[in-house]
């Protein structure tokens, strides 16, 4: 039996007038119970589409064309829409980026909270209503008994995101997908929400996929990190390894672009020049070639694979610069095998 969730080389494409556009390509990672993986990358790197692919919530013109998503030893991509619905909101839950618009304005908080429980848990209306109040108290919503009768417009963004979390946790999910849950919130509220999520996930040993572009959030929350660029995972490692030894030139660039408290007052923040190539116009070879400071001729011709580069800890990198390390790793494992 493998890890709880095994994403294996998924390729997600969208139909468009000019043919299929591949938005996520060769994305793979594993996740175990109680673990948190952060998907990091700039806008358009395919983080959200990866999450929606796992949840089976792609828009109608999107589909996972290749790969497999093994969850609790079943390939989610083989499930019928009906079987997928039984999982969704139940063992697979999701929190979205926009708390202000993610709740239905014309239904009460209580109605929206109990809906999923009534569907999945087979409990009575009264039990669900009681549990809704308990859940709201758990996520720190004050006056929970009253709030269940209220409509979402009476709550602030932070409170609404707490309601969303309560909703996601209502059926005790095994895997929680959180797509930039704090991006739309004030910094002080961000910290509260993240602490809350971390506490709840640890208490219930829920596996979490956290999507963010904020490396501060990554340092706070993640057990491991997958850095995404232009629809691919370019580096995957545990959080300490990644922050201590970033390898892929893109990750290195990201690290350099974070302001540090100890830096000189007149030090300029570094940035990565250029922008992500559009999915319909991906270059041959490495997708980071045009922005990479250490680009070689080979990068323009061949596509690098995501390879293990460390003998001590798991550290996968998609870059030709680390082929030597990879060869060394293969050498050791080969030695062990023989």
């Amino acid at each position: 039996m493998g890890a709880l969730l095994q994403v294996r080389g998924i390729k997600t494409e969208f139909r468009s007038d000019s043919g299929a556009v591949v938005v996520v390509d060769e994305v793979s990672f594993d996740l175990d119970r109680g673990e948190t993986i952060c998907l990091v990358g700039e806008s358009g790197s395919g983080k959200s589409v990866t999450a929606l692919s796992i949840m089976g919530l792609l828009p109608r013109n999107g589909r996972v064309a290749d790969g497999e998503i093994v969850f609790e030893d079943r390939n989610l991509l083989d499930l019928s829409e009906e079987e997928m619905r039984e999982n969704r909101g139940n063992s697979l839950a999701m929190i979205f980026q926009e708390p202000m618009t993610s709740l239905n304005p014309v239904l009460t908080i209580g109605d929206q909270l109990t809906e999923g429980m009534l569907l999945h848990l087979g409990i009575s209306r009264r039990e669900a209503a009681e549990r809704a109040v308990e859940l709201l108290e758990l996520v720190g919503v004050p006056r929970a008994g009253q709030i269940v009768k209220d409509y979402p417009h009476r709550l602030s963004g932070g409170m609404r995101q707490r309601v969303m979390i309560a909703m996601a946790l209502s059926c005790s999910p095994v895997l929680l997908v959180a797509d930039e849950p704090t991006t739309a919130l004030d910094v002080t509220i961000q910290a509260q929400i993240l602490t809350l999520m971390k506490k709840l996930a640890e208490a219930s040993r829920t596996a979490t996929i956290l999507i963010t572009h904020d490396l501060g959030v990554v340092a706070e929350m993640a057990d491991k990190v997958a850095v995404m660029y232009a629809g691919q995972v370019v580096e995957e490692a545990d959080v300490f390894e990644l922050f201590d030894h970033p390898r892929h030139p893109y990750t290195v660039g990201l690290m350099k672009s974070i302001p540090h408290l100890g830096a000189d007052d007149d030090a300029r923040l570094e940035s990565i020049p250029g922008s992500v190539p559009s999915p319909s116009n991906m270059p041959d070879g490495c997708r980071f070639q045009d922005r990479c400071p250490s680009v070689m001729d080979r990068c323009r011709a061949e596509r690098p694979d995501l390879l293990e580069t460390s003998t001590k800890r798991k550290h996968l990198v998609r870059c030709f610069l680390y082929e030597g390390e990879h060869a060394a790793v293969r050498g050791t494992t080969a030695g062990v095998a023989s």
């Binding site: 039984e86 999923g116 569907l119 417009h153």
Partner: protein
């Protein structure tokens, strides 16, 4: 809420007053006198003056208006110049048929428009959607008189299935329920075509918007069946902006009914309007106009009240 409604009603009084002023003076701009129509062309000028004096038409316009207004305040709409019966009675006998026609047309139109609009929104960009949009365009564009005459030609004259007009078969026992329904079918079809053509487009676009909202994705993420997502989560939100369309439809039906009632000889307010214009029965015309203005006002007030009921974000104080 109650204070809000009372305030709205009080605000409407000067508006309605303005409407009566405009109506009265516009009617006065028409050349000729009502007396011309029902006097023998050879009547002496002397006799004509006496008739005008009897009708109060010899007084200055301002005095005539104030007299009319004075009567109105006492709840009296005056007498019809033509039939010498109270205007309130004339209008009262016509309101029933118009409400029957309007109500039936609205119910039929919405019963078609709402499900069809939802279907088009769910299948956006498919042939089903294009068919609905095309059909709706046809329904909105075709003039009432043209569709009405076309339907009469095909179903009444060629096929002989349905009567050409009126509310019931004249003579005999006046017809039973089925006879009444047969008389309703064609005029309702004409009115409902236009109303549903318009409404379908609003339902569709409102539903397309609602279906792309974040809360619909949240509902899908809960694992709810698609029917629940559409009807509970999306539709309730999509219907809110349609309240405005409903209020316009309610008010506009009186206008739309003028042509349709005329074509089908439907004895309602619309036909009364045309009759009172052509016979210069100004007191009846003023009464009908006042009723129409009241209908517009009531429909708008109703829409605002319904808004507060369907949208928890709206509160009146």
């Amino acid at each position: 809420m109650t204070t809000y409604i009372i305030r709205r009603i009080l605000i409407s009084i000067p508006v309605l007053l303005g409407v009566t002023v405009l109506n009265f003076f516009i009617v006065q701009l028409a050349p000729g006198s009502p007396a011309d129509l029902y006097l023998d062309p050879n009547a002496s000028p002397d006799y004509k003056e006496r008739v005008e004096a009897a009708l109060g038409l010899d007084q200055p316009i301002m005095v005539q208006y104030l007299n009319w207004l004075g009567q109105l305040v006492r709840g009296d709409l005056g007498l019809s110049y033509v039939s010498r019966t109270p205007v309130a009675e004339v209008i009262g006998s016509r309101i029933g048929p118009t409400l029957l026609l309007m109500g039936a047309a609205l119910v039929v139109a919405y019963a078609i428009a709402i499900p069809v609009g939802i279907l088009a929104a769910k299948r956006k960009g498919t042939w089903a959607d294009y068919t609905v949009v095309g059909g709706a365009f046809f329904g909105v564009s075709i003039p009432h008189f043209f569709l009405g005459l076309g339907l009469i030609y095909v179903f009444a004259l060629q096929l002989g299935w349905l009567p050409t007009g009126n509310m019931a078969t004249i003579g005999g026992d006046g017809g039973g329920l089925w006879d009444r329904i047969q008389h309703l079918i064609l005029p309702v079809a004409v009115l409902a075509t236009a109303i549903s053509g318009n409404m379908v487009r609003y339902v569709r676009s409102s539903m397309v918007d609602a279906l792309s909202e974040d809360y619909v994705r949240t509902a899908h993420a809960k694992g709810l069946p698609p029917g629940v997502v559409t009807h509970k989560h999306a539709l309730r939100n999509a219907l809110i902006p349609l309240v405005t369309v409903l209020s316009v439809d309610l008010a506009g039906l009186l206008g739309g009914a003028i042509v349709t009632e005329q074509i089908f000889q439907w004895p309602g307010l619309g036909m009364l309007t045309i009759q009172s214009i052509s016979s210069r029965d100004y007191s009846v015309l003023m009464g009908v106009n006042l009723i129409a203005a009241l209908a517009v006002f009531a429909a708008n007030l109703l829409a605002d009240i319904v808004y507060a009921v369907v949208d928890p974000r709206i509160e009146y104080t």
